[in-house]
């Protein structure tokens, strides 16, 4: 009899051990949902998420990252569907870049009710029921641009701001940061226009820029545009009227191949860039920390940097302009 008990005890112990090791082996599956998949910015976020996955695996934490954009870019309903599908797939956690601050609230709350934690990255959401908000401090990005503008113009002149679109929280913060800092630190700089919008594509931005320069082209000394498309569009319009190459100081936001080339040629005097790779990296590592029961910050800043023609050849700036995406995505 005692034999039997001893054996039973051993079996129990063994099975408990097996269960524990199995529990440790069960991977954390983390669904990372961007706003789209084709834009360079999202490719860098993807690379960052993969980097986090690899590093955590090396540390012995079993993590699996699933990267999944909406089927049609910028379609809010499609993004809701992706969230719902991962909710019922019972992933360990979801990292989401919401296409809309309002429309994604209901599905995010729904996922959390189903006990799937959600982390928000890149753009804000009109709720505070999430694990953490991992994003660029866009207001600070606008401030950096304003400082650079003040420096370039020697504290006086006419400045033009081309906005991006109504209701886009991230770019509105950049615009606010720019205007507030100019007003506070450089009272002699006059804003000649700040009520025009570039719109979603390079083409709409180009047209808006042409219209603006038609009206203000003679008096303007400095221009700030708040995203990649509008930077490219405005630079092109400046070249058309022969005011590029530093006659009008041009500051932009985000780096794309075209705007980097424009800066090399001297048509752009500064680019405020985000760090999308770090955004993807921190989204995954923060979610894993949360899943492991650690407390995480509810707001994580992924950093903004000002790149100028003078510092663009430094290695760390080079890496921001050309994130080593190929190293992580095949």
């Amino acid at each position: 009899m005692s034999h039997f008990y001893r054996r039973a005890f051993c079996a129990l112990l063994l099975s408990a051990f097996v269960q524990v090791t199995f529990a440790a082996d069960k991977p954390y599956t983390i669904a990372v949902i961007p706003k789209g998949t084709t834009h360079e910015f999202w490719k860098s976020v993807h690379a960052g998420a993969v980097k986090a996955e690899r590093e955590l695996k090396e540390k012995g934490v079993n993590v699996e990252v699933i990267w999944k954009g909406p089927l049609r870019e910028d379609d809010r309903d499609q993004q809701i569907q992706v969230i719902e599908n991962f909710m019922t797939r019972r992933v360990s956690g979801i990292a989401l870049a919401p296409l809309d601050s309002q429309a994604m609230v209901a599905p995010v709350l729904n996922a959390q009710r189903a006990k799937v934690p959600v982390l928000i990255f890149d753009s804000g959401l009109n709720t505070d029921k999430y694990v953490s908000f991992v994003a660029t401090d866009n207001h600070k990005g606008g401030e950096l641009a304003a400082e650079r503008m003040g420096e370039l113009l020697g504290g006086k002149g006419n400045v033009l701001l081309l906005r991006y679109a109504v209701g886009s929280a991230s770019t509105e913060a950049r615009e606010a940061g720019f205007l507030e800092t100019l007003a506070a630190k450089f009272p002699n700089i006059k804003i000649v226009s700040s009520d025009q919008y570039a719109g979603p594509t390079r083409e709409t931005a180009y047209q808006a820029s042409q219209n603006l320069l038609n009206r203000f082209g003679r008096e303007v000394n400095g221009i700030f545009t708040v995203n990649e498309n509008s930077t490219v569009g405005m630079t092109k319009a400046l070249k058309d009227i022969g005011k590029a190459a530093g006659q009008v100081k041009m500051l932009g936001f985000d780096s794309g191949e075209q705007s980097v080339a424009d800066m090399k040629k001297g048509d752009v005097q500064g680019l405020v860039v985000q760090d999308p790779m770090r955004m993807g990296y921190l989204s995954v590592t923060t979610m894993v920390k949360h899943l492991q029961g650690e407390k995480v910050e509810t707001r994580i800043d992924t950093g903004v940097h000002l790149i100028t023609p003078e510092n663009m050849d430094q290695p760390e700036m080079k890496e921001l302009l050309h994130p080593p995406v190929e190293k992580y995505l095949n």
Binding site: T37, I80, Q81, E84, M87, T88, A103
Partner: protein
């Protein structure tokens, strides 16, 4: 079938064909579910009540559109303005709510707005004998543009109302309770099946689609009937718009771009012919479900987005190809 009294075997053959035609979409549905269920990595999540609740909810907008589109396609027409109309009516609904119209009136007026656009489509098609493809292609641009105009080129956020609850998923871990929208689809599917099969209006739609000239000679007022079909379908598209803004809790002029193709695909997978004269309401709903299940399953498998698009494209061609093969063998 020239002999006046066909032999019994032919009768049997015909009924077998009918049997396959009727159950074809169901077989497809079972196949798709079986494929995803067979994969050990997907099965534990895929075959759950909670997941099917999500799939049903995601199908609602396209399914309601398919109800209207089936009617149009059976009559030999097509409507490309569905996606734009969903966007337009969702903006109309959001604006009405924003201007303090009661939720019930908002729903009714939004659906009517869809009906009015349908009326314009139908009148142009019947009145000027224009191709439905061209008229609705034009309307696709007009409705999308008007939606953006009414929304001032951005999304329209409105105060929360009872309408937001149409698509609310209570208890995300179980199949029941289903959102209101799913029950609406179920009810409308039954009603439309009866209308298409048992009423004069429904039979006339089949007659027009099979042979318009013959239908006219039989005394069917083809032109009026067409105006009515497009208007009636417009009401369904308006309802899709109501559901869409309920789901997004905002009016969005850029939503549902290209969704008319999902709806047309659903109707075609459901056994309808783009030449008109055949199709079924239930088949179209099943078709819509098949597309959504494919998205859900490949999503959960972690297939990249482009593979998903390729897969759904293949399924559409396959479904229609099989249908053609079946028809050829029958002749």
């Amino acid at each position: 079938m020239t002999s006046p009294t066909p032999p019994i075997s032919l009768h049997q053959h015909v009924s077998l064909r009918k049997f396959i035609a009727f159950f074809g979409p169901f077989i497809g549905l079972a196949l798709v579910i079986a494929i995803f269920s067979a994969m050990p990595s997907v099965r534990p999540y895929f075959l759950t009540g909670a997941n099917f609740k999500v799939i049903f909810t995601q199908t609602v907008v396209v399914a309601i559109g398919a109800l209207g589109m089936t009617m149009i396609i059976i009559s030999g027409g097509i409507d490309l303005s569905f996606g734009s109309l969903v966007a337009l009516t969702s903006v109309v609904g959001a604006q009405l709510l924003k201007h303090h119209v009661s939720p019930l009136n908002t729903a009714v007026l939004t659906i009517l707005a869809g009906g009015i656009v349908g009326l314009v489509n139908g009148s142009l098609i019947a009145g000027f004998r224009m191709m439905p493809f061209i008229v609705t292609l034009g309307m696709m641009g007009i409705a999308r543009g008007t939606a953006k105009w009414l929304a001032d080129s951005s999304t329209v956020n409105m105060p929360g109302t009872a309408l937001d609850n149409l698509m609310f998923q209570d208890d995300p871990e179980h199949f029941f309770p289903l959102p209101m929208g799913v029950w609406i689809v179920a009810g409308l599917t039954c009603a439309m099946s009866l209308i298409m099969r048992r009423t004069v209006f429904g039979r006339h739609i089949f007659a027009i689609g099979s042979n318009e000239a013959a239908a006219r000679l039989c005394g069917i007022r083809v032109l009026w009937q067409k105006v009515f079909i497009y208007s009636f379908a417009g009401l369904f598209f308006g309802l899709s718009g109501v559901i869409q803004f309920s789901r997004l809790s905002q009016g969005d002029p850029s939503v549902a771009v290209g969704q008319e193709l999902d709806v047309i695909a659903a109707v075609v997978i459901g056994g309808a012919s783009l030449n008109g004269g055949s199709g079924s309401i239930l088949g179209s709903i099943i078709g819509a479900l098949i597309i959504q299940i494919l998205r859900n399953g490949s999503n959960q498998m972690g297939l990249p987005t482009f593979m998903q698009e390729i897969l759904i494209g293949i399924i559409i061609i396959l479904a229609v190809g099989l249908d053609k093969l079946r028809q050829r063998r029958a002749h």
